[in-house]
């Protein structure tokens, strides 16, 4: 969450140091001074602050957990315990002894299927609710209730229905991430300016053309907000679901590590989950920036 905030301050910070370097430049500035130095400065400005913060936090953690009776492992302890997990994410030493990257990929695979279905269903249902007042009146109250149900509460029912852990986990992903997609799409479509609808009416666009050429692009910023919330929620849900359903996956790994008291492994897995969640969010946000380029009305 703190990355976007860090992104904004380089502009403010770069101004000050540049004033001290530029006057020293010779009349024909060399490659080093014109290209490398500014680039290095930008990198330093962006990378250095989080790096320092991490070092300080690790230091504090180390001090707090260093004494013999500590309940949680210190960073140095984690390094010595779980070194194989940290340095090589892709090792395969046996059927249940594989690198964390493989486990993350298994979880991501489930998320991809569940979230993919949720995106398609969410956008379609959202489009219907956004277009039709009666569909909204009929469905919106139900959705408002259903969306408050915690993801894991669906798990027993889906296990009963599917009788297999894999589709059940995928269903939990689906049911968790579909609500924000539906609701945001519906809001986006309800907010399509009357002007665009008039244009479509004059051109006599049929419902399918209207959907692809006006509705989707006009509502894209809202839809992507929904997708972004949705992918965040599915990543939250998969870890929890896998803890209960077992099999391969980062969630089950944590549960397994807890049962065999490998606390250091859990910490490493948490770091993986955090980074992957962050990357997923960035990915959807990145796609949104590309796709919604120019959609903002003026």
């Amino acid at each position: 969450m703190n990355m976007p905030m860090l992104k904004t301050d380089p502009q403010a910070v770069t101004r000050a140091p540049s004033a001290t370097v530029v006057p020293l430049n010779p009349p024909t500035p060399g490659f080093l001074r014109t290209r490398i130095l500014p680039a290095a400065r930008t990198v330093a400005v962006r990378i250095l602050p989080p790096l320092v913060t991490i070092c300080v936090l690790l230091g504090v953690w180390q001090v707090l957990c260093m004494h013999p009776g500590a309940t949680l492992p210190s960073p140095s302890r984690i390094w010595s315990d779980a070194r194989d997990l940290i340095v090589d994410p892709f090792f395969v030493a046996g059927p249940q002894d594989i690198g964390l990257a493989w486990r993350v990929l298994t979880s991501l695979h489930r998320v991809a299927i569940g979230f993919g279905f949720a995106a398609i269903a969410g956008i379609l249902i959202g489009a219907i609710i956004g277009q039709s007042v009666w569909a909204m009146r009929g469905l919106d109250p139900i959705f408002q209730v259903l969306r408050t149900i915690p993801p894991l509460a669906w798990l027993p029912l889906s296990l009963a229905a599917f009788r297999d852990s894999q589709p059940s986990a995928i269903f939990v992903i689906f049911i968790t991430s579909v609500w924000p997609i539906i609701i945001n799409t519906a809001v986006g479509i309800r907010n399509i300016p009357q002007d665009y609808r008039n244009v479509a009416a004059v051109l006599r666009l049929n419902p399918l053309e209207f959907f692809w050429k006006v509705m989707i692009p006009a509502a894209a910023p809202y839809i992507f907000t929904g997708l972004r919330i949705g992918i965040g929620l599915s990543w939250l849900a998969i870890v929890a679901a896998e803890m209960l359903t077992g099999g391969v996956g980062i969630g089950f790994f944590i549960w397994d590590a807890w049962n065999s008291s490998r606390l250091s492994d859990i910490v490493v897995a948490l770091v993986y989950i955090g980074i992957v969640g962050f990357l997923l969010d960035r990915l959807v946000a990145g796609i949104a920036t590309v796709v919604t380029r120019g959609t903002a009305a003026n």
Binding site: R204, K213, G294, A296
Partner: protein, 264 residues
């Protein structure tokens, strides 16, 4: 005799809850092919409602609209509208905005290459080919209105409906666009119905000016023929006696007999 466009005893009442507001009352108007007709009146007098009924975007409560003897009751490209705020789709380029209309109207009758050429031709007509790959956000207000005009012209409408097309533009840009519209009308001979609140614009561009009384229940107060020869030149016409007389008539109507009443 049946006129080209016939607006026949039109009534429009908006119902909101149990409150009824009569906007238009018994509006009848005929427009001949190739005529340029302006509708002028104070804001809130139902001009835009009248245009929307002709466009088919709003349904009349009583009466109807006939175009070439056939009743109009839904929107369609034979009555292309240039909207007040351009209404270009912001995610499409200038070219694609016009092309969308061209593809929709001529998708069956013209080949791909013909449609491409027709799109470019219409952008040429409004002198906007140079910005064909730009998005609406990257061009000025006047340019957007030009593209809106090109999109409407590209549909080859039977009637071109202009809804205060220059209302949001500065005076110089507006004059420039008025000249363009005059030139296009001269060249293409479109039948045009234009809503405006600008007296000079109405007199300069129109063959006939329809003056509307204040709402609610607005009616046509007076119809004035502008007997000025075409092509008209802004500067020459400005001192012309007929022009000044027409202008005077409209001003009298708007500011003496049907003065704007606050919150009428």
């Amino acid at each position: 005799m049946i006129s080209y466009l016939q607006i026949d005893h039109l009534d429009k009442t908006f119902v909101r809850g149990n409150r009824e507001t009569k906007v238009l009352k018994d509006v009848s108007l005929t427009v001949e092919k190739g005529q340029f007709v302006s509708i002028i009146g104070h804001s809130g007098c139902g001009k835009t409602t009248l245009l929307n009924i002709v466009a088919g975007l709003t349904q009349a409560t009583l009466g109807g609209v006939l175009l070439e003897g056939r009743e109009v009751n839904e929107p369609g490209p034979d009555r292309a509208v240039v909207f007040q705020n351009h209404s270009l789709l912001p995610w499409l380029t200038v070219y694609d905005n016009v092309r969308l209309a061209v593809d929709k109207v001529f998708g069956a009758s013209k080949s791909r290459a013909e449609r491409h050429a027709w799109t470019l031709h219409n952008l040429d007509l409004v002198q906007m080919s140079h910005a064909k790959d730009k998005r609406p956000a990257e061009i000025s207000g006047g340019m957007k209105q030009r593209v809106g005009l090109a999109r409407a012209l590209a549909m080859e409408p039977k009637v071109l409906l202009l809804d205060e097309p220059f209302g949001a533009l500065d005076a110089l840009t507006r004059a420039h666009l008025q000249d363009s519209v005059m030139a296009l009308h001269q060249k293409l001979g479109n039948t045009v119905l234009m809503i405006t609140h600008d007296v000079d614009e109405a007199v300069l561009l129109s063959d006939r000016i329809v003056m509307m009384t204040n709402g609610p229940a607005a009616q046509i107060g007076e119809i004035l023929d502008v007997a000025l020869a075409r092509p008209r030149k802004r500067l020459e016409v400005a001192a012309n006696a007929t022009y000044l007389k027409c202008r005077q008539r409209v001003l009298e109507f708007l500011y003496e007999r049907h003065r704007y009443v606050e919150a009428a």
